[in-house]
Symmetry: D3
């Protein structure tokens, strides 16, 4: 089996997931992203991930761009090139300017450093940080 | 040398860093967080990190809470307990409600899954994600 | 020195490692996988890894497919594309069906989430989990 | 809010999740594991994780012990102490003997080494590993 | 915006960073490495990283090759191909022989194993390791 | 079985490993570090790790302190507290001064940043870094 399954070759269960995503985004199902073409071989995993993504990005108290930046921060930390490329594109589509990107990267990089400092120096958690 | 150096026992160079942070936060230098008490043994690293944090959290186009959420997302991904505790407290102080935390965690967890799916299925980057 | 050394160009010590692997697998030494062509420059590392792999996959109480799935789970978690490709092929050769792959990925992804939940919420270990 | 919420203090939506797990395991809801006491503050995340775990461990083509070993392999790789403790206990409850644990660790450690070798020597994927 | 910005197309602030690096290395600014061409879009991040690298590699008590090996060890552990390639080349330029590389890899791989053993067996820190 | 097995309670095969280490270090076997008390339950894993550590730290072209710093760099990157504590103590015993530690941390932290920059900006490897 090739790594990617085109929409026209997907099983009905996989097609149904793609149809739902394509409709929500207003795109042609044949133009669906590679991640869904790859997941098409495991429809149960595909359905679960589609549902989880839909719930995570459903309208709520955090705005869509903030959610994309959170997703992107995780992806850079995990060093996932596909996700950096895809959610970088999503963040730009949702209004991330060049200036925002620079500020975002500054926070991401400071956090990486803070994380390794806390571990490298074996810093114990301050009692003041605990919730009452 | 013990792991943490109290403010009163710090070298002048380390004290100066703590003074700057304490003044900016309006707190007593003796109440500084453990991470600075741990860094006090390496003043050059301490100065560099203090400057980087100050620059990363300087007023800009992203609001302070968004920056805290980005920092927290990196810290959870890197599994740094100290940073999760400290920046979790900071995020709450800057207005993160329980509802926001639930949404934030949903995005962080969906991103973890997306990252591992992209790697586990070896998904190639779509041409459409590239910047022109 | 190029990154990969073909069998015919390897030093005797590296050739001996490849000969052992090729014999065990019933293949032509010239058809050895890239990982061994890359390790050929550091024969001591190569010998050590070959011995460790042989011991880890020696017949025992866990069956060969279970061992491949464990290896693959680590490789996806570490995001190592080479190892995902090579041990994915090995798992299929040892009987992993499409259905098993879907179940395997479901467990791997649930574990990723469980790991990040435990860290993100800073969950203390239950006393009941400790061995007596 | 304290980090852990006892069953008696949980909101109805969180209690319902715990009731389902307690019933499936035949335990008293008050004896539920800490991870669920921690998740109780974010019921939507809690419900999603409970459903995902239930689906991942539903009867299928892989036996329950194999699934526990896969979960444990991910948890050791991610260095999540809570998950190592909890799923180590689960694996023992599902029949993991001392001998199996030793074999399991040998594969996990060989995989860690294989992963870092593949990255450290920048080994390209062999064409033979690709699916047809 | 393309991912890489050539020197001739950089903004003055980015050009100044490249000029400083090119001068220190005695190279043509147009031949600067890709990492700087990528960072050119975020001059503040670029300046900060250039300053940090300069300070980290300034003459001190650790010799330049030792510093390159430390950098390379982090990069292999983090599985960053770009950094493995670039600092591998730097280490060779600063005198890393094939024999040193083999010894280096042996320590890196032993450390990976030691790290996962310590976590997998949940080993508590010995009191003897603490500083007085 | 408790997590740690004291020397007097170890099986002969585990005792033999500890005897070898204790002799090489000139210490009482009963004073062996916790990592060996934890590994005692899996003698095959224990023997393999002891042999690998001995080989990695055997006299060679890299001096003992450099090897400790490489080991420590990996351990901080992997965030293994046990290994940071134990090899931090070893590095101090082998001559790491406070000044060296500060320089070491500066390189480790710069590398973390460089790694995440390379991934976050998706920097392609320069042709000049490749070996001929």
């Amino acid at each position: 089996m090739p790594r990617l399954t085109e929409y026209k070759d997907m099983a009905p269960r996989a097609k149904a997931v793609v149809d739902g995503i394509a409709q929500a985004r207003g795109i042609d199902p044949a133009a669906i992203n590679n991640v869904w073409k790859a997941l098409a071989r495991d429809p149960a995993v595909m359905e679960q991930f589609a549902a989880e993504m839909k719930a995570a990005f459903a309208p709520g108290t955090l705005d869509p761009l903030t959610k994309e930046l959170i997703y992107l921060a995780v992806s850079i930390t995990n060093q996932c090139e596909y996700c950096i490329a895809s959610h970088g594109a999503m963040a730009r589509a949702r209004g991330m300017t060049g200036e925002m990107h620079a500020e975002f990267m500054a926070v991401v990089l400071a956090a990486q450093k803070g994380n390794k400092i806390a571990m490298g120096y074996r810093v114990p958690v301050d009692a003041a940080f605990e919730e009452k």
